[in-house]
Point group: C2
Chain length 150, copies 2
């Protein structure tokens, strides 16, 4: 029904992760793959799409990683979803060959519903999500504690 691909979910988690575990140094891909159970190589591709979309900024070299390309409040969930889903094209032929009923009745309804969804996603910013995460007591930087267990 509301189908968000795994890639999109990953993108969302990654961006929020970076925003939430904000430090002076950038966040590395392997930290994220550690927190989620994802192949590093696959996550990198997703990160690339986010970089090209102007959501993340990649920092190369040792001690490199990713950081947000703009303020938390200026990144919406819709932005991330769109970024993750570009490159997953549509042929232009959307779905059915279409009878008159399809074109005149069904299409408009789906279109308007889709519009509602998008504007809803656009109204949620990463800042909102961070505040929410902090409020519901998600503990940040589970990595820092792991650093000192021998």
């Amino acid at each position: 029904m509301l189908k968000l691909s795994r890639k999109t979910l990953l993108a969302l988690e990654a961006v929020i992760d970076i925003a939430f575990n904000a430090r002076p140094e950038p966040v590395q891909a392997k930290e994220i793959t550690a927190r989620q159970g994802v192949p590093q190589r696959y996550l990198e591709q997703v990160m690339q799409q986010l970089v090209r979309a102007g959501i993340l900024k990649g920092v190369r070299g040792p001690r490199g990683g990713y950081r947000l390309a703009k303020e938390r409040r200026r990144i919406s969930v819709g932005d991330i979803v769109r970024a993750a889903e570009t490159g997953e094209e549509e042929n232009g032929e959307d779905g059915a060959p279409r009878s008159e009923l399809g074109v005149r009745i069904i299409n408009p309804i789906i279109q308007s519903l889709q519009g509602e969804i998008i504007s809803k996603l656009d109204s949620i910013t990463v800042e909102d999500l961070c505040r929410q995460a902090r409020a519901s007591g998600v503990h940040a930087g589970e990595r820092t504690s792991a650093d000192f267990t021998i």
Copy 2:
């Protein structure tokens, strides 16, 4: 984003078609495939799902076909979508393996959004769509006119 499979679109068109072109005799599958450009054999499967879901009623034998199993106002778009999408399983593992952020923040948002969509789809009945079609001047029974062309 809002992904409705071709099968679901077909189901919607078929049900509205039957409701809109209502006559004493049931509507046959081949009439529907004529109005839309779909293989008959494929449409039959979709019709079966709708029959099993209690939305359509199949009438066998010559002069048979399909009719609505209940009143137009008691069938919602949500019913049809659900009927068309059952049998298109989910493994139980929904999408990502999930970090804490995924489970506590992202999942709830998607869930509530999904709920909104469903309740929106449930609030639209086939009767609404028929009224709308008549209002926007979709000409009914394009078959009846074809009946008399030689």
